[in-house]
Amino acid sequence: MNNAIEVQKLRKEFKAYSSRSGLNGAFRDLFTRNYKIATAVNDISFTVKKGEMVGYIGENGAGKSTTIKMLTGILTPTSGQITVNGMNPHKEREKFVQTIGVVFGQRSQLWWDIAVQESFRLLKKVYKVSDQQYDDHMNHVIRTLDIEPLLDKPVRKLSLGQRMRCELAAALIHNPPLLFLDEPTIGLDVLVKLKIREFLKEINEKYNTTILLTTHDLTDIEALCERVIMLDEGNVIYDGPLKNLKETLGEGKELQFQLLEKVDLAAVKHVTSGMPVKWEFDKKELIFTANIEDSDELISQVIAAVAAAFKIKDMKINETSTEEIIRNIYEKGAVEVG
């Protein structure tokens, strides 16, 4: 069995009642309620192979958390099939959760009042981890995440970054082959983020741990995941390598020039006539921007032409950022990747 997660036609509906407005409406609500069925996850299918690191992204309310909760056995799906680690998460919950680790960025898994190491000790018992396994594995985790000085402090006295590292360690006590991370880097500073990313990469390499991660921080995804699954209004709108997404949808490159002399736009346009370039001129900053296709040859030609004709003060080559790509996708609501 090579798949860690298999999801087929997974669907989750919530029945919500919509209240009428005003006091009058409230009285009417008392007797007859308008129920609305909201589909949070709409017949999605995907598989994740063992050892993959997959980014699961989408806007707020796109259905990410709902999916994760179904995959971890917290919620029961309305319809569809889920097989995670060869088990049905909800049916065999107690046996199943032994094989996964979960970190919810906004919710603590640790006990608030007791020292971190006491939490670890209790979790170790909960997951029936032997002393030897614990020592082998956790000493390493504790060292890598640099949480040794925090172990004897109660969780409520930790900062968010410290707590998050402890949460991550707590999720790994039983060394699960599959790890769910729901916004693990939310609200963390750059250094902690980097540390967490490095650590995730390391356990992925060392134990071949499968990681499914949701985040709003796309740099996380860029640093960790080769593959992304993008969700919008409960539908999977893209599932594939991050690179493809960039190549197909990254709409060319941007060349920015600042020139020493005063030149007008027409003159610049004249230099590159015949080349497929779209020029823009920012009068305030005196920056000329060329939007061109992403082709190495064309880029050098444009630079050469401009440099030959004018004296250049400053120059930049910008790539369309992932964030921009994703914003574009959300705005259009669909992706067409060949």
Binding site: F14, S65, T66, K69, T72, G73, I74, L75, T76, H90, R93, E94, K95, V97, Q98, I100, V102, F104, Q106, R107, S108, Q109, W111, D113, I114, E118, L122, K125, V126, Y127, K128, P154, D182
Partner: protein
């Protein structure tokens, strides 16, 4: 076996947390003792004015009251689920519970241990001994064993009813005010049921069987033979209610909708 060892793990954790706050521990200890003493005085004052009630005399009523306090204390120590809806459903703490390999209800019971409630049992025992000695009840060798069985039975009845109430939260989102109401109804079990009208008596025996927490088992020790059947039914009712509440819980967990985040 695993569950027994988990119980002790959580128990030691609970004790550690309590010991960490020394001042708090002492304050709580004293306030518990004090409130139990007040309780005791209150009982004696209130029942000082009653003489006979439908064939029960003053000391017998006090005895029933004392007995009731014991299963109630056990219940409060282990089934501290008054705020289940708020804490676990609205705040979504159940998410965390459900990602751990132990039965969810058992985990909640372990997390919410409140052993200081067991002080109430001491008051209960004191009241029973006071009333018992005035009534001249003979203590036989099997009494302690039956007492323990009845106490467990009564605590299970209580636990079962309140777990079922907690289960409502799985289906209905809004927080319910049923818990306080049920608490009031449960108090009826402290008094002899035959003083009530037949319908209430039926309800307290078969539907919300709080009579099995107080009167029925206590009647055995008071030697009221007409009630013996009911007395011995206590553990059965306890098990029936508790098991069905667990089954209901298992169904309810499937309906859990989670809190948004």
């Amino acid at each position: 076996m695993f569950y027994v060892s988990m119980f002790f793990q959580y128990l030691s954790q609970y004790l550690k947390t309590r010991l960490q706050y020394r001042a708090d521990l002492f304050v709580e200890f004293f306030s518990d003792l004090l409130s139990q003493a007040i309780n005791l005085v209150f009982i004696l004052v209130v029942f000082g004015h009653t003489n006979m009630l439908h064939g029960w005399n003053r000391d017998e009523i006090i005895f029933i009251y004392g007995f009731f306090l014991v299963p109630y204390a056990v219940f409060s120590a282990f089934f501290n689920i008054w705020d289940f809806n708020e804490r676990y459903i609205v705040k979504g703490e159940l998410d965390r519970i459900l990602t751990r390999p132990i039965h969810s209800l058992f985990q909640i019971i372990l997390e919410r241990l409140e052993l200081e409630s067991l002080f109430g049992a001491l008051t209960g025992l004191a009241v029973m001994f006071y009333a018992g000695s005035r009534l001249g009840i003979e203590v036989h060798w099997y009494h302690p064993f039956l007492f323990i069985v009845f106490v467990i039975g009564g605590a299970l009845v209580y636990g079962g009813v309140f777990i079922m109430l907690a289960c409502i939260s799985f289906w209905a989102d809004a927080r319910t005010s049923l818990m306080p109401m049920m608490y009031n109804i449960s108090n009826y079990g402290r008094y002899p049921v035959n003083i009530y009208n037949n319908i209430i008596r039926f309800v307290l025996t078969w539907i919300l069987p709080f009579a099995f927490v107080g009167v029925y088992p206590a009647a055995f020790f008071l030697g009221k033979e007409e009630w013996y059947w009911y007395s011995f039914f206590t553990p059965v009712i306890g098990i029936i209610f508790f098991v069905s509440s667990v089954l209901l819980w298992n169904q309810g967990v499937k309906k859990y909708r989670g809190a948004g985040n």
